[in-house]
């Protein structure tokens, strides 16, 4: 009885300690640095394509004009779906020059984020432009834009420019020590990790309501949809059991991701399975950027010591420290 009372008494403190360890333990910003580079490249790519199609998506005669967008953007609090492009359109003068100037600023900000130059400011600007473009181009957005915005949001929080960045080189040149382990790096990584878990859990739970994910035909519907198709793999029609297997693996992988990825024994397998799943989407269904951005999100589960091992040197964190981190299982 006494031990039960003690246990109850200690539980809040243990929970608080676990919470603090999970969120507020400083971590090496190497993982965040790699995510910054990959996400930055994808943001650049996404916005380059947006801007190259400016007239179609943002011009005065865009596919969805401001009025057309308003019809599509229904629901409560719709005015919070802000966009600088809408504000520019409502100015009492021809704002074409201003819009193009801001397009260039957006691309520069995303390039700076990728390179890690004035990273914090670049991250904030990249996030704002990402949200703004996506909000203006409603109707033509899809999963890529949501994950882009999610990564850009969390890159603002941590010291994304503390590793593998021009900021770090400049710091070194000025004789300043590199940024080491950081609490905010840990918070940013944890947020990406949790968000990825929730993305997969939501995707899996929604699929459980669909009969094709149960009868094993969902994979066929995905690969045999001509408008999505970029590589023809319909020869798989001859292997229905393989199609069933791929359907079930996808569903159960998505469902179990949020639990198994936290267990060191299963984590490598869970993350490695993300590669064929998302490369399959990339290559067969023509959503290259979406497949890649999901893999970038998965990179949040790669421990910094692995990244230091793969990309040795740089940033002043030596290999022996990477080994120490490995021993600590971080």
């Amino acid at each position: 009885m006494a031990s039960a009372t003690e246990h109850l008494r200690d539980t809040p403190a243990a929970a608080r300690d676990a919470w603090n360890r999970f969120w507020f333990r400083p971590t090496d910003p190497a993982t965040l640095g790699v995510i910054r580079i990959c996400a930055g490249l994808l943001l650049l790519r996404t916005h380059w394509v947006w801007i190259a199609n400016h007239d179609a998506f943002f011009g005065p005669q865009a596919w969805l004009s401001a009025a057309g967008r308003a019809a599509f953007n229904e629901g409560s609090w719709s005015s919070w779906s802000w966009s600088h492009l809408l504000w520019c359109d409502s100015l009492p003068f021809d704002s074409t020059g201003l819009i193009w100037t801001l397009h260039v600023v957006a691309l520069i900000a995303m390039a700076m984020l990728t390179l890690g130059l004035m990273t914090r400011a670049a991250a904030v600007a990249s996030f704002l432009f990402t949200v703004s473009f996506a909000n203006r181009a409603m109707g033509s957005t899809f999963g890529l834009d949501g994950v882009n915005a999610m990564l850009a949001l969390y890159l603002m929080i941590g010291p994304a420019g503390a590793a593998f960045s021009l900021d770090n080189l400049i710091r070194k040149r000025r004789g300043k020590p590199p940024v080491g382990e950081s609490v905010s790096a840990n918070i940013a990584i944890r947020l990406i990790q949790l968000h990825m878990c929730y993305i997969y859990l939501s995707a899996a739970l929604a699929k459980f309501a669909g009969e094709t994910w149960w009868d094993g035909t969902a994979m066929w519907l995905a690969i045999a949809n001509y408008e999505y198709q970029s590589i023809d793999v319909t020869f798989l029609a001859h292997w229905p059991l393989l199609l069933n297997f791929l359907t079930h693996v996808t569903l159960y992988w998505e469902l179990s991701y949020c639990a198994l990825v936290w267990l060191p024994r299963f984590r490598p397998g869970v993350i490695l399975l993300a590669v064929p799943v998302h490369l399959g989407i990339s290559l067969c269904m023509g959503m290259v950027e979406f497949g890649l951005v999901m893999l970038v999100g998965n990179a949040a589960f790669i421990s910094p010591w692995i990244i230091r091992k793969v990309i040795p040197g740089g940033d002043g964190v030596q290999r022996k420290d990477a080994k120490t981190q490995r021993r600590k299982g971080r």
Binding site: R45, V179, N225, D232
Partner: protein, 245 residues
């Protein structure tokens, strides 16, 4: 459980390690994290079909979710089922001299790179296709006279109500279709445009084994959406208006 010496053995990376956060900073961060995570969870949880509870719970978070673009589609990729049809829009523009030109969006040959194609595909799928997905979605303007003669009054009342909602929903979608029509008129310098929704059914594995191609015409079904003349307003087709018997 970390060993008592874990802290002592902890490696010190050569970089300058940021100071541990004070309890006050941790408390503020904890509140912010909990609010943010609640918003993320509720954003997906409240996408219809959803409970009244989730709808009410997400309401205070709506401004934050919209402002940060975290309110997107609930991450329900290819759920509950992958689509059994895909949608394109076929258009025919008429120029001042009476010449006509046809096209579709998305179009693999025109919309490049692939990401631009996918953006156009999403307009067809998300903006145009939801106007009408099947015959059953169309609420006809009038019921057949033979049916009306025998239908109970509550059935007729229900039809009137459904028809009113259907017309209101078309009215709401009109600006989007008008915008698409205006875009095509402007892009081609034309004076008139007609739109059709082109739905392509996904064949079964047995169809493909039997020699069918995904591009076969037999999988395609077209329905006329409507038309617009430059300077005028969008007109739904009789089919969409439910006025064609």
């Amino acid at each position: 459980m970390p060993s008592p010496n874990a802290k002592k053995n902890r490696a010190k990376p050569p970089g300058r390690r940021s100071a541990d956060w004070s309890p006050a900073a941790r408390t503020i961060a904890t509140v912010a994290l909990l609010l943010h995570l609640a918003a993320v969870v509720l954003a997906s949880w409240s996408i219809p079909p959803s409970s009244e509870l989730s709808q009410k719970a997400v309401t205070p978070f709506r401004p934050y979710l919209r402002a940060t673009y975290l309110n997107v589609g609930g991450y329900r990729f290819f759920a509950p089922n992958p689509p059994t049809h895909s949608n394109r829009v076929r258009y025919e523009v008429t120029f001042e001299d009476g010449q006509k030109k046809q096209g579709t969006f998305p179009d693999r040959d025109v919309h490049r790179p692939r990401l631009a194609y996918h953006r156009h595909f999403m307009i067809a799928e998300q903006v145009v296709a939801p106007v009408v997905l099947s015959e059953e979605d169309i609420v006809p303007a009038s019921l057949p006279p033979a049916y009306l003669a025998e239908a109970p009054p509550e059935e007729i009342k229900r039809h009137r109500e459904a028809r009113r909602e259907y017309v209101a929903s078309l009215k709401q979608q009109e600006p989007a279709l008008q915008s698409i029509a205006e875009h095509l008129l402007h892009a081609h310098g034309a004076v008139h445009v007609r739109l059709w929704l082109v739905q392509r059914r996904v064949p079964t594995p047995q169809d493909v084994i039997g020699g069918a191609e995904l591009t076969d015409e037999k999988w395609i079904r077209e329905r006329r959406l409507g038309e617009m003349t430059a300077g005028e307003t969008w007109q739904w087709s009789e089919y969409i208006r439910g006025e064609r018997n």
